[in-house]
């Protein structure tokens, strides 16, 4: 794997790290299976690309993308908590609807950003080539997002949001408005995903209507890879694990792209990626089995795998 390909995997992995954080927030913290992300990822790209082409400052366009994602997430949660539409169905409805909305926003299926200014062209450090610059800027953005989320969940509002997902009845008994926190949580989650979409469009030459396909699968895979390889109860470490999981997932794809020497061909890519990820997920299981076989000192507790929540 070339350095260029590795940096590419890190760059795209960091972007999907934001998706993983969003998915972790909805699936694990709020306990809401949210498929809106397949629509809010391209929504972020569509808003950022269209506004940039219309002459907006790239930072303002990116902020608008974030706000659009928050609206989409809030809408899904609102359909669920106010109109009592099933969680999965509510998110599917918003996802399907966003396809048309995204086409309306872009006015066509593909908006190119190749020669336009982006948040990445705003900053340049001397002669640092773009290949290094993009991952570095993304690292700063993702680190900031992660630290802000960590800080939020340590606050009173954040704890209330965690209670909303963990035990809604108890939360309500404590006077927490679970409806309001569900709406806020999904808004935050989809804002992160839309930010990822906006950054993706700005690094990859444009927004395309098809760019949302499978976002939820990649996000979930990243969360699960992260949780499996780094099981922990600490929220600060779990959010880190989500980002690492996303980067690792992109490395598996980069590896799969380099398997032609095994006689594997282009059409095998998704299967190779799936097998590689499955193997990675098996590592902790086998590690446990091995350590169970090993003689242990008397009185030592059996290893217990803690489910990260």
């Amino acid at each position: 794997m070339s350095l260029f390909a590795s940096l590419g995997a890190i760059e795209i992995g960091l972007i999907f790290g934001l998706v993983a954080l969003g998915v972790y927030l909805s699936f694990r913290i709020i306990n809401f299976p949210d498929l809106t992300v397949d629509g809010s990822f391209p929504l972020g790209g569509a808003v950022a690309a269209t506004l940039t082409v219309a002459g907006w400052h790239p930072l303002a366009a990116t902020a608008a993308a974030l706000a659009a994602g928050a609206l989409a997430g809030a809408l899904t949660a609102w359909l669920n908590v106010k109109l009592k539409i099933m969680q999965l169905l509510a998110s599917i409805l918003v996802m399907i609807g966003l396809y048309s909305v995204n086409l309306r926003i872009m006015g066509k299926p593909n908006v190119a950003l190749i020669s336009e200014p982006t948040v990445f062209t705003l900053l340049s450090f001397g002669d640092l080539p773009e290949v290094w610059l993009k991952p570095l800027i993304l690292l700063a953005i993702v680190a900031a997002a992660k630290l802000l989320i960590d800080a939020f969940f340590a606050s009173e509002a954040g704890l209330a949001m965690r209670a909303t997902g963990g035990n809604p009845r108890m939360a309500r008994a404590q006077g927490i408005s679970t409806d309001r926190y569900t709406i806020a949580g999904l808004a935050l989650s989809n804002a992160l995903v839309a930010l990822a979409g906006a950054l993706f469009a700005q690094t990859q030459g444009g927004a395309d209507i098809s760019m949302g396909v499978g976002t939820i699968v990649i996000g979930l895979a990243a969360v699960i890879i992260g949780e499996t390889l780094m099981p922990t109860r600490s929220l600060v470490l779990t959010t880190l694990a989500c980002v690492l999981g996303a980067v690792l997932y992109r490395f598996f794809i980069a590896l799969a792209l380099n398997t032609d020497f095994l006689g594997l061909q282009a059409q095998d890519l998704n299967l190779v990626t799936a097998v590689l990820v499955a193997l990675a997920l098996l590592v902790p299981t086998y590690k446990r089995k091995l350590s169970a076989l090993r003689p242990r000192p008397a009185g030592a507790a059996l290893p217990v795998r803690k489910e990260a929540r």
């Binding site: 794997m1 070339s2 350095l3 260029f4 390909a5 590795s6 940096l7 590419g8 995997a9 760059e11 795209i12 999907f16 396809y99 048309s100 086409l103 066509k108 299926p109 593909n110 190119a112 950003l113 190749i114 020669s115 993706f200 690094t203 990859q204 030459g205 444009g206 395309d208 209507i209 098809s210 760019m211 396909v213 499978g214 990649i218 390889l229 780094m230 099981p231 922990t232 690492l244 690792l248 992109r250 490395f251 598996f252 794809i253 980069a254 590896l255 792209l257 380099n258 398997t259 032609d260 020497f261 282009a266 059409q267 890519l269 998704n270 990675a280 590592v283 902790p284 590690k287």
Partner: protein, 325 residues
């Protein structure tokens, strides 16, 4: 710290795998061409094969004196971006990028490796090149824009009294929307009015065809993935309503279209291959103007014509390259 240990160990394993792949001896190749497509699809695959065969004809044989790589993103734009990065890192002599999203990812990533796009309908709107003039950059290529004025002429030959042309297209395909916009411009000059029917998904295609009954005199099927996937659904409606179907893709004629003046994607690939060969022989991509397809074939299906209520003129039949029995 056990967890960290295992993360580290699996990362090490991954790194070892990556290194072992890099350490394998590269093919003894004089030149290298890397091809990427957004998805595997009969038309796009034909374009890729055309590139490979044309390069062989020009003296660059895959596996002998040419390293010919191919990767498909399997429909995922994130993967397309990673393939672009892999190729840019591999530094081949030419990168061939098939279809708009793949081409954008490659062009966004390199300003020095020659890039030849193929099967991109509107490279100017996609910002791969500034205009149809030689770009002066590292980018050139071949567009698959249909000869729409010729298609409208063909429609008038098949239904001389028809003034209303129904078009079924997917609003989510960049290529189809580009074609629709060009059709809107070409229709007044050709003396026809367009009746548009959007189909966002494959399952919407028969409904879109149904919506044209009574509103259109003929159905035009552009080079659109959804339309071509669900083409039989259109033919069924056309037979019931006696509405002739004219297509852009010659493969549709066997499946029940009356006629198609088509772009053959294999030939498009050969045309792309000619551009690639010129660059391999030392020409600068920035001095080669982006081109549109040059060879078209007329395919006719008299049996389908009868079922759809039209008869084909003898002079038209005599000019056809293929007449489906």
């Amino acid at each position: 710290m056990q967890h960290n240990f295992f993360v580290r160990r699996s990362l090490l394993a991954a790194a070892a795998l990556a290194l072992s792949s890099a350490a394998l001896p590269a093919l003894a190749a004089d030149k290298s061409v890397a091809v990427t497509a957004i998805v595997e699809h009969p038309a796009l695959d034909a374009a890729r094969d055309g590139v490979r065969d044309e390069l062989k004809a020009a003296g660059f044989e895959a596996g002998k004196n040419l390293k010919f790589d191919y990767q498909s993103a399997q429909g995922n734009t994130g993967t397309a971006a990673q393939i672009a990065r892999k190729y840019i890192g591999d530094r081949p002599d030419v990168i061939v990028a098939i279809a708009t999203p793949s081409a954008q990812a490659v062009v966004a990533g390199t300003r020095d490796i020659p890039v030849v796009f193929s099967a991109v309908t509107d490279p100017v709107t996609a910002k791969l090149v500034k205009s149809w003039e030689p770009s002066g950059t590292n980018v050139t290529g071949v567009s698959d824009l249909s000869p729409l004025d010729k298609h409208l002429e063909l429609i008038k030959k098949i239904v001389p009294q028809g003034k209303r042309v129904g078009v079924i297209y997917s609003p989510g395909e960049a290529n189809s929307v580009a074609i629709l916009e060009a059709l809107r411009k070409a229709a007044p000059a050709a003396g026809v009015t367009l009746v548009e029917a959007a189909a966002a998904r494959t399952v919407d295609v028969p409904t879109a065809a149904q919506s044209l009954v009574g509103k259109a005199d003929v159905i035009y099927a552009p080079t659109d993935n959804n339309v071509m996937s669900a083409f039989e659904g259109i033919v069924k409606v056309a037979q019931q309503a006696k509405l002739p179907v004219v297509a852009a893709d010659t493969a549709a004629v066997k499946r029940g279209a009356v006629a198609a003046l088509g772009l053959n994607y294999y030939d498009l690939g050969r045309q792309t291959g000619k551009v690639v060969a010129r660059i391999l022989k030392g020409e600068a991509p920035g001095k080669i103007a982006p081109q549109t397809a040059t060879t078209f074939e007329l395919h006719l299906n008299p049996g389908a014509a009868q079922k759809q209520g039209v008869t084909l003129a003898q002079d038209l039949v005599s000019t056809a390259k293929v007449v489906v029995k």
